[in-house]
């Protein structure tokens, strides 16, 4: 009965998220919201996670229609470092650092040739605190909240002209953003060994200044809902954990001097297959991908064609295991 109620809860969350009203924005900076990786942590444990993230943006989408127009292509490379330390079984702190390189190539035709621009540097840093509310009967429920700090560079200029590159090419956003997350995990859902994961991330964007302080800009608020499953699989005597999830992303329109900014915001739905491979008790490697299956965007936007990534994770525990029993 409990399982059935969880299924209903999960389904409702998913459907509700899809029915939210459209808006959104193509934000600068790194794909941090999708790389927080919340989850249960034991007391006095430490984990370090290094991820490479490749985001290929070549789809020009008008509303929900992809145009046959490959004139412009953007590639975002991100290197992310995530540190997580658990003060107790309930309370953990997370810090996420990143380096970003954003490239833009425009192929304007045989007679004109192509042009290339890039900007690279340190991106915005995220710090979060997570609190585990429930861990019982295979259920894990975690709340997390934190801040995105405007540490990323926002004034990188074209070396030829000296003119500052457009904001969506800059590694940083320039704004303090508030973030909160809910993570729900259910072990042994449907069959033994598997795990159902549901994560909801919300980023509330604050206002920032652009163009030498002459304009205020506010990236759209962003909602991520990840719902997926992972399960153990033995392949050639190796234990793998394939993961498969749906990711829904919703972003409100950005605001320029308080007014809606054209061609920002929308709904995205992706499938995100991946896997985790534990090498030892402490080391594991992982890979993921993100493929759009539905987009409903405001105006016309260059958006993700696909995204792939891979990384390594190191986990270590310093203290003794503590008994932790919560009322069911």
């Amino acid at each position: 009965m409990k399982k059935v109620s969880y299924i209903i809860f999960f389904t409702l969350c998913y459907l509700l998220s899809i029915d939210l009203q459209a808006q959104g924005c193509c934000a600068g900076g790194s794909p941090i919201s999708g790389n927080l990786n919340l989850g249960a942590a034991k007391s006095q444990s430490f984990s370090f996670n290094l991820t490479y993230d490749y985001n290929h943006l070549a789809d020009l989408v008008s509303g929900s229609e992809e145009l046959d127009d490959k004139l412009r292509r953007r590639i975002n490379h991100s290197g992310l470092m995530r540190f997580k330390y658990a003060f107790s079984d309930r309370l953990s702190a997370i810090a996420l650092f990143n380096l970003i390189r954003q490239e833009e190539r425009i192929q304007a035709g045989a007679a004109v040739g192509s042009t290339f621009r890039k900007a690279e540097g340190i991106g915005d840093i995220i710090t979060m605190v997570q609190y585990q509310i429930v861990q019982a009967g295979g259920n894990t429920l975690i709340l997390a909240g934190g801040l995105k700090w405007p540490t990323g560079e926002t004034e990188i200029a074209n070396p030829e002209t000296g003119i500052v590159l457009n904001p969506d090419l800059q590694p940083g956003t320039g704004s303090y953003d508030f973030m909160w997350s809910i993570y729900y995990g259910l072990e042994h859902w449907l069959f033994n060994g598997n795990r159902l994961n549901l994560t909801i991330n919300y980023r509330l964007s604050d206002e920032t200044e652009r163009f030498n302080g002459q304009q205020t800009y506010q990236f759209g608020d962003e909602l991520f809902v990840d719902a997926g499953i992972s399960f153990p699989l033995v392949v050639s005597k190796m234990l793998l954990y394939p993961e498969f999830s749906f990711r829904y992303r919703f972003q409100t329109e950005a605001l320029t001097n308080g007014a809606d900014t054209p061609n920002t915001g929308g709904h995205w739905l992706y499938i995100t297959p991946g896997f985790r491979w534990p090498l030892t008790n402490q080391w594991s490697v992982f890979a993921f991908s993100e493929i759009p299956i539905y987009r409903q965007l405001k105006g016309v936007q260059l958006t993700t064609s696909y995204r792939i990534g891979a990384g390594v994770q190191f986990d270590i525990r310093f203290g003794e295991e503590e008994a932790f029993i919560l009322p069911d």
């Binding site: 229609e65 900014t261 016309v300």
Partner: protein, 377 residues
């Protein structure tokens, strides 16, 4: 019961009558009919130059011509209504069209000299020509201070911003035009809506028209009429359309969109030297050709409905641009109607007129004077 039958019969008759009307409507060969469009004109003088400004708020055009002819004659004009393609006449009995050509009268075939003018959003005139004179409007009472040009630039770069990369907005280099007749327009349907703004240019007896729906996506069309190579440019952010000669001393070039904006106005670049130009300043502001001016050609901006009344066989840029763009969608969405939204900062904000109001600016000796559509109602 008998009332129900009566009602049914009446409904059936109504349906038949309506259907008959729809199917027997004869296409009007003038395309837009002879609807009354009030033409007004203003005989004015700006910086010592006698001008006639002719326009119609309902037909959506404003044009400016010099009143003095090369032979020294000074014409006195009067507006003509329901006389398309003529829009004004004069004391000699000549009738003139939107391109300033005498289409009847003793001076038939002669050409008025167009004043250097074009339509654009008020804020653009306010910032590019600080303190611009406003016809029958208050004088500018604010203060403005222009910064010194940046190194290697002819302009200060504090308000030069990057929007996209070089050619991120692709110019049309091989434009295809199609001549429509009005029967086709009605029976097969144009891709241009009646209320859509369309830019027109005439050289000798040839006319090319450029719909905003295409220019919004390309901003520059590298075109040719007869032996004249020219670029038709349109900046959606300032609403300004300007055409210029692309035959430089160094040779014929094409222009592309640099992705830079000065005071929110498009900055084209020439592909011969990659020098950067300013559309509204009409000069080169960076690169090998810095300080060079270009020769402009007069353009006319009005709605497609008006063009159909003015021309028998409009020759229109088609969507066969070589690019797959969503021409049915305006990429600037509500930008035009939102007076509070400017995509990029500008040097001076003049608030005498709503920022996105389309006005006609006339430039004489480097100074500008602006006329509003409300002057032509």
């Amino acid at each position: 019961m008998k009332y129900q039958w009566f009602t049914l019969i009446m409904v059936a008759l109504l349906v038949v009558a309506c259907g008959k009307d729809d199917t027997t409507t004869t296409p009007n060969p003038t395309g837009g009919g002879n609807a009354q469009t009030a033409t007004k004109l203003i005989q004015d003088e700006f910086d010592g130059l006698p001008l006639v400004i002719v326009g119609s708020s309902s037909a959506n055009y404003m044009l400016a011509f010099e009143r003095e002819l090369p032979d020294g004659s000074m014409l006195q004009f009067e507006a003509l209504n329901q006389a398309y393609p003529a829009i004004m006449g004069d004391q000699e009995g000549n009738r003139w069209n939107v391109f300033g050509r005498a289409i009847s009268g003793p001076r038939k075939g002669q050409q008025l000299k167009p004043a250097h003018s074009y339509i654009g959003f008020w804020f653009a005139w306010g910032t590019m020509y600080p303190g611009v004179e406003l016809y029958e409007g208050p004088a500018y009472s604010g203060d403005f201070r222009q910064e010194e040009p940046a190194e290697d630039w002819a302009i200060p770069t504090a308000n030069v911003f990057s929007s996209v990369g070089l050619d991120g907005i692709p110019a049309v280099d091989e434009p295809v035009f199609e001549t429509f007749n009005n029967r086709d327009a009605i029976e097969n349907g144009y891709f241009v809506e009646d209320d859509e703004l369309v830019i027109g240019i005439q050289m000798n007896d040839e006319i090319h028209l450029y719909p905003h729906s295409i220019l919004n996506w390309h901003e520059i069309v590298n075109d040719q009429l007869g032996s004249t190579y020219f670029a038709m440019s349109f900046c959606p952010l300032t609403g300004t359309a300007i055409a210029w000669n692309r035959e430089l001393d160094e040779g014929v070039t094409t222009f592309g969109v640099s992705g830079l904006l000065y005071n929110s106005n498009v900055m084209p670049y020439d592909r011969l030297t990659t020098s950067v130009w300013s559309q509204m300043r009409e000069d080169c502001v960076r690169g090998d050709l810095i300080g060079r001016n270009w020769t402009t050609y007069p353009v006319v901006e009005t709605t497609w409905a008006t063009w159909k009344r003015l021309l028998d066989s409009p020759n229109v840029l088609t969507r066969a641009t070589g690019f797959n763009k969503d021409y049915d969608t305006n990429p600037y969405q509500d930008y035009i109607s939102d007076n509070n939204f400017l995509a990029f900062p500008i040097e001076f904000m003049d608030d005498r007129v709503p920022s996105k109001e389309r006005v006609l600016g006339v430039i004489v000796n480097g100074k500008a004077k602006v006329y509003r559509f409300q002057d032509f109602q």
